[in-house]
């Protein structure tokens, strides 16, 4: 993709933008999870029903647009909306003291230049890429500056708009949301009716204005918690950035459980976790039964809370993190190839090399774990083997808390630049592709292997302790932030923050807090305990992680699955059995064993009828051997069962296209594009389908231009290869399930 291509795409698309922005393209389908940024007629045509070849074929392209005059941000400000109004929060606090007090401790309140970690990144971006381009950042971080056009100029430390963060009037003013991201919402500028005591109508009008339709939706959060890069942000090619929304919308938390057959869990939206009900001791006017939805927007912002010196907020953040993911030493693979499943009590011989499979599972995070800016996260695994006397025999990752520990497995994504080298300090305009991503999707699992070389003399039993530890940001980014805070500008901002908040200035140089997310200990070389009720689940989690392995390693999921099945009780475990069987099916799919996959899925389906994941796996089993026509029915069933999952529609669109049904293909593709407007696969299918349907040339040209603008860059594989070639450890990290050697005792 070139910069000019993107510009062409935006120019061509421009005519449809206003209609979309004004809400004309709102979907009427109640299965939809977002509104379309597209020309309205096409959106309605594409999304009002499931793909049906009997209907007239779509011959218009659905195009990703940016309706905002504040581009690259997608934010659309109401007429006359100004920064001073947005920044003003005291009038809200007058009646909503609890909400305001909570918000003042939140990352939203420190989302602008008043946050040293953000400031160091945005200041550098503005210097290197340009002030106009920095509107991309401002749409979510600096709305007050943005709407005043102040991002085009220097931002002074004493400018109140630079300290606003994401204020009451931003979230409570959003009257339309689009699925794009990068601030893809509209903020109303209509006056806020002021409620008067005893005047029910004034209260109603106030509530009506302050609780607009998008307010309690996940899609509103997605307006900013989905980001993408492109030519307008200084990047060579389109690239997905931080994106909590997509992970959530494809998950069972959003009701779209096509990822896997899983243990039952409740649906949850952003606010269920990040805005739980909380006591309102200050008498907040919005309180019901003495509680309000928390405006702390709790997340894993432990560094921010620590640098602010807010012990209470830090404790809350740490509490939220604990148990978010689990860790387990699930399987031991012995030198002779035998396995201990689960690993508890695995025999170990002096001098033996044994591989310990550690499994991390995202237990309750509705997006990726860690989430947000996944390139800057710093979650890692520590593993320690001790003998019976407590002497450490080997360890891995235990020095990462002090700096980079080369034995540590770090759960983060690694974007690389032109030279294939990882970028650690959020130089987003240099991001070209992601070399590897060790973060975990909702309910997903990851296997990390450790090689332990047992010493020649052993005092048994040994203990193996695995810990999952969290630090908010990597130390490289912290060092850059700390250095910036010591500059004159940094110090001026610190002083301004202190003055405005009445609290000590945030100190980004403090030692970052580390949170113990999870811990597990097993014994080796002792008695083998009888498997407990959780044993099958541990092995299921291990197998789930192994399904992400290189294709030639996937077979190693099978013994865990067999053992898990064997451990399940004969009765009363239908769901668990369905989980294992479906996962067996997934293994067979990856191995190209279609018939075997179908048999396992038949079994799973009998126990978990009409599950979206089973349809997906059936479809994938068939498409892997190019039985496209047969694949359509299960893929369609899966998409209908998980209608908010854009990937489900993508799979269906490719199947229809491959089966030679372009009319159905474009319909499915446009269903998905409503949810994910810049998906390269669906834009490609749309373009090919319009060609096949002999659509008007203007449409085929527009569709083709959009595909070219947003397709994955062709040189991404080469850049990843450069990382492997040039960066020590990169080739190893790019192997999904790889072996970390443990450090022997010194």
């Amino acid at each position: 993709m070139t910069r000019s291509l993107v510009l062409v795409a935006l120019l061509v698309a421009g005519s449809g933008a206003i209609a979309a922005a004004s809400g004309c393209s709102q979907r009427s389908d109640d299965r939809a999870t977002g509104s379309a940024t597209t020309n309205a007629s096409t959106a309605a045509n594409a999304t009002s029903a499931s793909p049906s070849p009997a209907r007239a074929a779509i011959t218009t392209a659905m195009l990703p647009l940016n309706p905002s005059p504040l581009a690259p941000s997608h934010l659309v400000a109401g007429p006359g909306l100004d920064g001073a109004t947005i920044t003003e929060t005291e009038s809200c606090a007058g009646c909503h003291a609890d909400a305001a007090a909570q918000w003042r401790t939140s990352a939203h309140a420190f989302g602008s230049f008043n946050n040293p970690a953000y400031r160091v990144v945005v200041d550098r971006f503005r210097k290197d890429v340009g002030k106009d381009a920095s509107r991309f950042c401002a749409g979510c971080h600096d709305v007050a500056l943005l709407v005043d056009g102040a991002m085009a100029a220097d931002v002074a430390p004493n400018d109140g708009r630079a300290h606003g963060g994401i204020t009451c009037r931003v979230c409570h003013g959003i009257d339309a949301v689009r699925p794009d991201g990068n601030g893809s919402f509209s903020v109303a500028s209509t006056p806020i009716p002021i409620p008067r005591d005893g005047d029910a109508e004034s209260v109603r009008l106030h509530k009506e204005r302050m609780a607009l339709a998008p307010l309690r939706t996940a899609q509103m959060c997605g307006g900013c918690h989905r980001a993408f890069l492109g030519a307008e942000t200084g990047n060579v090619a389109h690239l997905i950035g931080q994106d909590d929304m997509t992970a959530w919308v494809r998950s069972g938390y959003a009701g779209n459980g096509s990822a896997r057959v899983d243990s039952p869990f409740a649906k949850a939206e952003c606010r269920n976790c990040h805005m739980p009900l909380e006591d309102a001791p200050r008498g907040d006017a919005a309180a019901k039964n003495g509680k309000i939805a928390s405006h702390r927007f709790l997340g894993a912002h432990t560094w921010l809370q620590a640098m602010r010196g807010d012990a209470d907020a830090l404790a809350r953040a740490k509490e939220m993190l604990r148990g978010a993911a689990s860790i387990d030493v699930a399987v031991a693979v012995h030198a002779d190839g035998s396995r201990t499943l689960p690993a508890d009590g695995a025999p170990v011989k002096p001098g033996e090399a044994i591989v310990l499979d550690v499994v991390v599972r995202n237990q309750r995070v509705g997006h990726r774990f860690p989430g947000g800016t996944v390139d800057a996260q710093d979650v890692w695994i520590e593993l320690v083997v001790r003998d019976a006397g407590g002497r450490v025999l080997a360890d891995a990752g235990t020095q990462h808390d002090k700096g980079e520990d080369l034995t540590a497995h770090v759960m983060r994504a690694s974007p690389v630049g032109d030279d294939g080298r990882p970028l650690l300090v959020r130089e987003t305009e240099k991001f070209r592709t992601t070399a590897f991503d060790h973060t975990l999707g909702p309910r997903d699992a990851q296997v990390v292997r450790y090689r332990f070389d047992a010493p020649s003399t052993l005092t048994l039993p040994l203990s193996v302790t695995a810990r999952l530890r969290h630090r908010s940001r990597n130390l490289t980014l912290q060092a850059a932030t700390c250095a910036n805070a010591k500059t004159p500008r940094g110090q001026q901002f610190s002083a301004a923050v202190a003055k405005r908040t009445g609290a000590p200035a945030p100190d980004p140089c403090i030692l970052q807090p580390i949170t113990e997310v999870a811990e597990a200990t097993i014994a080796l070389g002792g008695e083998i305990p009888a498997p407990d009720a959780r044993a099958w689940q541990r092995l299921f989690d291990h197998a789930l992680g192994m399904t992400k392995a290189l294709q030639e390693q996937v077979d190693e999921a099978r013994p865990s699955l067999e053992r898990a099945l064997a451990l399940l009780p004969a009765a009363g475990a239908d769901r668990a059995r369905a989980m294992v069987m479906a996962l067996y099916g997934a293994v067979a799919v990856r191995e190209g064993r279609t018939d075997e996959a179908m048999k396992w899925l038949d079994g799973a389906e009998a126990l978990a009828p009409k599950h979206a994941a089973i349809g997906r796996l059936r479809g994938e089993a068939l498409t892997s051997v190019w039985r496209w026509t047969e694949a359509i029915a299960p893929l369609r069933a899966s998409a209908l069962a998980a209608p908010g999952d854009d990937a489900a529609w993508m799979r269906l669109a490719v199947a229809y296209g491959s089966a030679g049904d372009p009319a159905a293909a474009i319909e499915a593709a446009q269903r998905g594009l409503v949810l994910q407007p810049r998906d390269g696969d669906m834009l490609r299918v749309q373009s090919l389908s319009l060609d096949a349907l002999h659509a008007p040339q203007s449409e085929t040209d527009r569709a083709r231009t959009a595909f070219l603008a947003f397709r994955p860059p062709d040189d991404a594989p080469q850049l990843r290869a450069l990382c492997s070639d040039r960066v020590p450890g990169c080739a190893l990290e790019r192997i999904p399930v790889h072996v970390h050697p443990m450090r022997p005792a010194r």
Binding site: D419, R563, L565
Partner: protein, 560 residues
């Protein structure tokens, strides 16, 4: 490729009847003429480490002696530095090294002066490795033009089309004077829908030597890419050969044997004694044995060889040198790349660097599939497999030569067939020692004969029974068992706890029938918390771990 153009071109004629196109391995030939183009046999060499796959293919073309092109869908846009042509000789050597071989043994004097029995080892080990060339850094230019790269090498003019161009594949080919006939579109369409790229190798007919049958062996083409998937897209190549087609896939990987996961695997019956008459027609003999094996286990992929790449016993040719491994892809493996001279900013002795796999660690696996005209088989999916042994002049515990493929701690399996010359001289001792086999009385070791050009071996005329000594054919073929799979001994019967799938589906998949997979999943499992005694097969698994872990261990010594 613009589908509307392809759809418009679609007619009632079938691919098989269509002129101007023929299927080669994982691609197809096109020409400007309304002529039939065929691919008879394909050899593929894969090298694999981590996510890196190096693919080299050698195709045989049969058609009119005029310019044509080979079009191959590839998962990524290949850069110029990703593509090489190799000399045909290396394929010839690899073929000979891994092909089933015929050896001759002479029974040694049953009454000799005492000496240890001779057991193979006719050849000494490989020469010491030569210095390997350093892998160079690759550029990372962004694609921005219609033709990503275009260069001439050997008989090929390579054109790499970016995704932008791939969507116009047919128009590009037509513009360049080639034809995609009607009927090809359904086979190409999914590649386009999935966003695959296309690699076009235009062949200058003047640089190719055609034999009397119009057949030309093309220079091997090598390219590499990274992918978590490891499979071979052979579908296009299966559709339109001139008849039955042989596909020989040789996989080279550090410490790892491979097999297919979506077809049955069978090890060729080996260690058979054959009549001396087989000497002059060994290719035909082996082809008959191979066909008979497939007849017994239809649709299987046959493992013909699995051995350390740098040794052999007996050796039809010298084993592979490090230079040859380099040529076949070791130069671009992560472990060797990471040990290339450091570029600016790298710590020269960074502990994160991988150690290059030792030359001796490479395992060469030879897989052989044969499928019929018009078959619609599936791509080959590969999986790691445990080491096997078999086909050596080694006696088992029962005092008999090992038979079939057995699990082992290292890979030493080959298809080996012997002409034995019993001792005919006088035996002037009280306790003659019979059955000691070695070289001829004259002392000159005859070179083993490799079954080369199996695809073109005469078929249907040779009576296998007449050449097999000591047993009827069916008995011999009983040795053609499945190759040992990655197994986890001590496993409970999965059917005891789960009714799906059952092991009772006996029907083996058939490439010809278009069926896809064996119905029985690999045996695995674990009955107790600690699982059985190792069979040695998972030793390979651990060996793989060790290779990675050893490499990664270097990270421990110094921080980046």
């Amino acid at each position: 490729m613009r589908l509307k153009a392809l759809v418009a071109a679609a007619a009632m004629t079938t691919v098989l009847a269509a002129p101007g196109v023929a299927e080669a391995f994982c691609g197809f030939y096109v020409s400007g003429a309304d002529a039939s183009l065929f691919n008879d046999a394909t050899q593929v060499v894969l090298m694999r480490e981590g996510t890196r796959t190096v693919l080299t293919m050698a195709n045989a073309y049969k058609g009119p002696p005029q310019d044509f092109a080979m079009v191959v869908p590839v998962p990524v846009v290949l850069q110029k530095e990703n593509v090489k042509t190799l000399k045909k000789e290396i394929f010839g050597r690899l073929d000979l090294l891994t092909a089933p071989r015929l050896v001759e043994y002479w029974e040694q004097d049953p009454c000799p002066p005492p000496r240890p029995p001779m057991r193979g080892n006719w050849k000494s080990g490989p020469p010491p490795p030569t210095a390997a060339p350093a892998g160079g850094a690759r550029r990372a230019d962004a694609p921005s033009v219609v033709v990503e790269a275009q260069f001439t090498v050997g008989e090929y003019e390579i054109v790499i089309l970016s995704a932008r161009d791939a969507t116009g594949l047919d128009s590009w080919l037509r513009t360049n004077g080639y034809k995609i006939p009607a009927g090809a579109e359904p086979h190409l369409r999914p590649y386009v829908q999935m966003g695959m790229k296309f690699f076009v190798a235009k062949v200058d007919a003047k640089k190719v030597t055609f034999d009397a049958q119009g057949r030309a062996a093309l220079s091997p083409l090598r390219f590499h890419y990274d992918a978590e998937a490891f499979h071979l897209p052979i579908r296009l190549g299966m559709i339109n050969s001139s008849g039955t087609q042989d596909l020989i896939v040789t996989i080279l990987a550090p410490s790892q044997r491979y097999e297919v996961s979506n077809y049955d695997n069978v090890a060729i019956p080996t260690n058979m004694d054959v009549a001396e008459g087989a000497k002059g027609q060994f290719g035909a003999f082996y082809a008959a044995l191979f066909d008979k094996t497939l007849e017994k286990r239809p649709g299987s992929v046959v493992t013909e060889y699995s051995w350390q790449a740098t040794s052999c016993d007996p050796c039809p040719v010298e084993p592979l040198s490090m230079n040859e491994l380099w040529t076949l892809g070791a130069d671009v493996l992560p472990s060797t790349q990471a040990n290339a001279p450091p570029s600016q900013g790298d710590a020269p002795s960074s502990p994160r660097r991988w150690r290059p796999p030792p030359q001796s660690s490479f395992v060469v696996t030879r897989l052989h599939a044969r499928y019929g005209k018009g078959s619609a088989g599936n791509d080959l999916f590969f999986r790691a497999a445990p080491p096997i042994t078999g086909g050596r002049e080694v006696e088992g515990d029962d005092g008999k030569l090992e038979n079939g493929a057995k699990p082992a701690s290292s890979n030493n399996f080959q298809g080996r067939y012997a002409v034995r010359h019993p001792w005919k001289g006088r035996m002037a001792c009280a306790h003659p020692q019979r059955g000691v086999w070695g070289g001829p009385p004259g002392g000159e070791d005859p070179k083993p004969v490799a079954a080369g050009d199996i695809a073109f071996a005469p078929r249907g005329t040779l009576k296998l029974d007449a050449l097999l000594k000591g047993a009827v054919t069916d008995t011999m073929l009983a040795a053609a068992g499945p190759t040992p799979e990655l197994s986890f001994p001590g496993a409970p019967d999965p059917d005891a706890s789960a009714p799906f799938p059952s092991d009772t589906d006996a029907g083996a998949p058939s490439i010809d029938a278009g069926a896809s997979i064996p119905s029985t999943p690999p045996k695995s499992g674990c009955g107790a918390c600690t699982l059985g005694e190792g069979t040695g097969n998972a030793g390979a698994l651990l060996a793989g771990f060790m290779a990675l872990a050893t490499a990664a261990a270097r990270r421990l010594t110094k921080k980046r």
